[in-house]
Symmetry: C2
Subunit: 223 residues, 2 copies
DNA sequence: CTGTGATTCATACGTTCGTTTGAATTATGG
DNA sequence: CCATAATTCAAACGAACGTATGAATCACAG
C-alpha cells in the first residue's frame, strides 16, 4: 500500500539523497551511492519516486513547503500586527532570511544539511532544477518584493529588486560555504567553535543585509 | 613541438570548455561535448591537458592569473598614492570586486562567460576544484583582508572577515545569476536592456557592498 | 489460513563516460 | 628532401551510469 506517511524506505532515501546532493551535487551523486548509504535496494528509488529527477524534486519539496509556508505566515503576522502601517525593512529581512537561517537549528526540518544544499543549488547550472526552484519560490518572492516596495517607498523598485538579489546571494553563500570558505581563505574564524558560529551567523548576516539594503543609492555615471 | 603560446587547438578547447562548464557545470559537461563544440578530436583534450581535471584547472588558471595580478597591482597603486594613510573601504572594495566585475566587459579576458563560471564554481561541490581555487585565491585574499583591517580599525577582525565573506557571496551570485535569477523571480528588471544592466550592475553592487561592510555591528543575544 | 497487492531483491539492459592506443597526418630543423 | 618530432585521427577499452524486469518476499484484509 502506498502509505501517505513516509515509509521508512522513502525517508531513508530522501535523507541520504539530501546529504549526498549537498556534498557532491546532483550530477556528482549516483543512484548507487544514494541507495548504498540509505541501505536500500538500487531499484527502490525508481519504485518510490520514478526517476532521479523526481527524487531531487521531492528532496526539495519536503523542506521548501514548510519553509515557504512559514515565510508567508511570518509576513501575515507582521502585517496583522502593523495594522496598515508599512513594515520596517529589518522585519521583512528577518522574516525571509531569518526564517531560513533558523532552519539550520531545526534538525527535524533538515538542519544545516538542507540549507547548504539549498544555498548551492540556487547557482546550480542544471536547467530543470533551477526551473523547479523558480516555480517553488515565485509566489513567496513576489509577496516579499511587494512588502519591501511598501517599506521603502523612496527607493526605486528596480533598486530594491537588485538588492533583494544581492541579499539572496550573500545568504546562500554564507550558508553553503560555512566550511567551504575555510578552505578558500583559511581566515581567522577558527577561534569560535562551530556551535558558536551558527548562533552568531544570523545577527551578523542580518546586520550586513540591512546595511546593504539601506545603503545610499548608487550614482550612475552618464554614458 | 609543445609551443609555449597557445596552439589553436588548445585555445579552442579552453574556450569551449569555459562556456560549457559555465552552462552545465563540471560533472554536467562531457569531453565529447567540449571537443565537439571546439571542432577537435576527442583525444585532443587528453593529449594537450592530460585529463578533464587538468583541463578545468587550466581554464581557471588562464583567467585568474591575470585577475589576481591586477588585483595586487590595484592595491599596490592605492597604497602608493595613499602614502601610509589607511585606505578608504570603498577603494579596497572597488579594487577587489570592481576589478572582477570589469572583466565582464573585456572579451579578451573571458568576459561575462568566465565571470559566471567563476561565480558558480565558488559554491561548486566538487572537492578538488574548491581546493584548487583555494590555492589560487589564498595570497590575494590574505592581502585584502589585511588592507581592510587597517582601513576599519574599530571593527573587530572577525566581523570584517565575515563581511568579506558576505560580499563575495553577493558578488558571485550577482554575476552567476544575471539571467538565472530572471527565471527564479521574473521580477521587473525587464525595463532595462541587458547592455544597461551590466553597466549599472557595478555601481549598484558596490553601493550595496559598502553599505553592508559599514553597517552597525550586530548585537549578540547572550546564551 | 489464504489470496492479493505492495515492496524488495538480484540481475541485466543499453548508453555514455573518461581515457588509451597505434596508425595516419602534419610541421619542422638539418 | 628527408628524418624526426608533434599533432590529429578513428576506434576501442573497461567502468559507471540511470533504468527496467520478473521473481521472491512481505503485509494484511477477508
Amino acid at each position: 500500500m502506498q502509505d501517505n506517511r513516509l515509509s521508512d524506505t522513502r525517508a531513508r532515501i530522501l535523507d541520504a539523497a539530501e546529504r549526498l546532493f549537498m556534498a557532491h551535487g546532483y550530477d556528482g551523486t549516483s543512484m548507487r551511492q544514494i541507495t548504498g548509504e540509505a541501505g536500500v535496494n538500487l531499484a527502490a528509488v525508481n519504485y518510490h519516486f520514478g526517476s532521479k529527477e523526481a527524487l531531487i524534486q521531492e528532496v526539495f519539496r519536503r523542506r521548501l513547503n514548510w519553509l515557504n509556508e512559514e515565510r508567508m505566515r511570518a509576513l501575515d503576522e507582521l502585517e496583522a500586527t502593523a495594522d496598515g502601517q508599512p513594515l520596517k525593512p529589518s522585519q521583512i529581512v528577518d522574516a525571509f532570511f531569518g526564517t531560513m537561517i533558523r532552519m539550520a537549528e531545526d534538525e527535524e526540518r533538515g538542519g544545516v544539511i538542507f540549507l547548504r544544499l539549498l544555498g548551492r543549488t540556487l547557482t546550480e547550472p542544471s536547467d530543470f532544477i533551477r526551473a523547479f526552484l523558480a516555480h517553488e519560490y515565485k509566489t513567496v518572492v513576489e509577496r516579499y518584493k511587494e512588502a519591501l516596495f511598501r517599506s521603502l517607498p523612496d527607493v526605486p523598485k528596480a533598486e530594491i529588486v537588485w538588492r533583494f538579489h544581492f541579499m539572496l546571494g550573500a545568504t546562500s553563500y554564507a550558508i553553503a560555504g560555512t566550511d567551504a570558505l575555510r578552505l578558500v581563505t583559511d581566515w581567522g574564524i577558527e577561534a569560535e567553535d562551530s556551535e558558536d558560529r551558527l548562533d552568531r551567523l544570523l545577527p551578523r548576516l542580518i546586520s550586513f543585509l540591512i546595511g546593504g539594503l539601506r545603503a545610499p543609492l548608487p550614482q550612475f555615471t552618464d554614458h
